[in-house]
Symmetry: C2
Subunit: 260 residues, 2 copies
């Protein structure tokens, strides 16, 4: 994981808990560059530390500035996040697109920052003017007030999702070994024989379809080798069950129902 | 915005504040179906209400169950979220992919739920077994413990992002009118004349390049009609400035430097 990433700039944050939770969300997403502009409390405030749940290094390394201009002076590209629409002629970027461009900028060796306004009021227009673009969050228009740390998480989540090389979906195997076709067919043949024996497959017309359905179901489950072994054990248990009408009787005619 | 969405199932949540913040994150993302399995406190607990910041309806409509099986009985597809890898043979879905499939399932009229485990311990293996697939969050492996409400937000954010028909980027105009080419060229011509007058463009060899650069800069800014008017005002102010060496002297030769 890259140790570089966009700076998170909290402008006039009011609550120590939110600073701490923002630091936690940042570190969850591999971000560490926290900057505070005129915060009401220091980033190392005891309540901030308690709510950061172990992300103390982010709080300890956080830089405090008196004004926004100084906080972003070394950055090349700055995004102003805001939940509500602003009546300002500015480029608007969806969070994902902003992160995509931010990553390119960072890869080119330049600094990027995301601005977050105070809890109740959000960024002032003069502060938004300093940004290159606005990043509105896609939220429920009827309940759009996102918690400050939640807003930070959205940016961080897009950042770490972008870096993730995890496939959209996969089957985690761990120590398990997928069954090969021979193992699967071995179970199917034995199951088919047992179902013939008990008369379940006695309908000649339906038989091919039923066998196909059983195979389709088994393959769709993508069984592991140990699961095939478990299934063999289950089958043995069912065939050999003492109360059953037939005990794996090899001498009995297969599929007696066909005689009907 | 669709009023339907996946159910959020909190299994044995311990802290009232997290229930409240999860409800807030849900409503931020347009989700309202909150289910609690053996919570330590009722969803309408006073501390939950305080931390939901106005999402009281979600808490009031939340359903409480004694066991997970009952909580998900009406759902067709269930995802278990977890920050850490589990050594379990299960399909794994990235959050975005899980939401994509969830949306298809919901569009087909079937119910979908996302399970979230208790704050410290996460879901137990028996609980994960009830799910169809596992959704691991892409988090910093060295600091992977996501706050419960933050985890809920990731799912909600993917849900509402999916529904968003906002373009990846756009220029918000509001009441502003983009300048047309005639307005832009009018300003450029006037600026060019003023720069000729003051001698800025006296280098004949560089002149075409400089004029091109000025035009490129102006076009890249995608100026609004009112901004062109402002620029005209600025230009008038500069040309007519009383302390300047030349006062819009129409009778002076244009570009006197060329005479050198």
């Amino acid at each position: 994981m890259s140790t570089r990433g966009p700076a998170i700039v909290l402008v006039r944050p009011q609550l120590a808990e939110n600073i701490g939770m923002a630091a936690r969300a940042m570190l969850n997403c591999g971000l560490t560059d926290l900057r505070l502009v005129s915060p009401r409390v220091e980033p190392t405030d005891e309540r901030a530390r308690r709510s950061c749940s172990g992300a103390d290094t982010v709080l300890e390394q956080a830089r405090v500035f008196d004004d926004l201009g100084a906080a972003i002076a070394d950055l090349t590209r700055v995004y102003a996040t805001c939940p509500r629409d602003r009546d300002m002629v500015k480029p608007y970027f969806a969070p994902r697109e902003a992160i995509r461009v931010a990553a390119e900028t960072i890869d080119a060796g330049r600094g990027v920052g995301f601005l977050f306004g105070p809890e109740r009021t959000g960024l002032e227009n003069d502060e938004i003017t300093l940004a290159d673009a606005i990043v509105p969050f896609p939220v429920n228009p009827e309940f759009s007030s996102l918690n400050l740390a939640q807003a930070v998480l959205v940016v961080g989540y897009e950042w770490i999702s972008r870096q993730s090389d995890a496939p959209a979906r996969h089957l985690r195997l761990g120590k398990a070994e997928p069954a090969n076709k021979g193992e699967i067919e071995g179970l199917l043949k034995r199951l088919e024989a047992a179902l013939d024996d008990c008369g379940f497959l006695r309908n000649e017309q339906m038989r091919p379809t039923m066998v196909r359905n059983i195979r389709a179901f088994l393959l769709r489950a993508r069984p592991m080798a140990h699961e095939i072994r478990t299934a063999h054990g289950m089958l043995s248990g069912l065939i050999d069950r003492p109360h059953g009408p037939e005990r794996a009787g090899k001498s009995k005619p297969r599929n007696p129902a066909r005689e009907d």
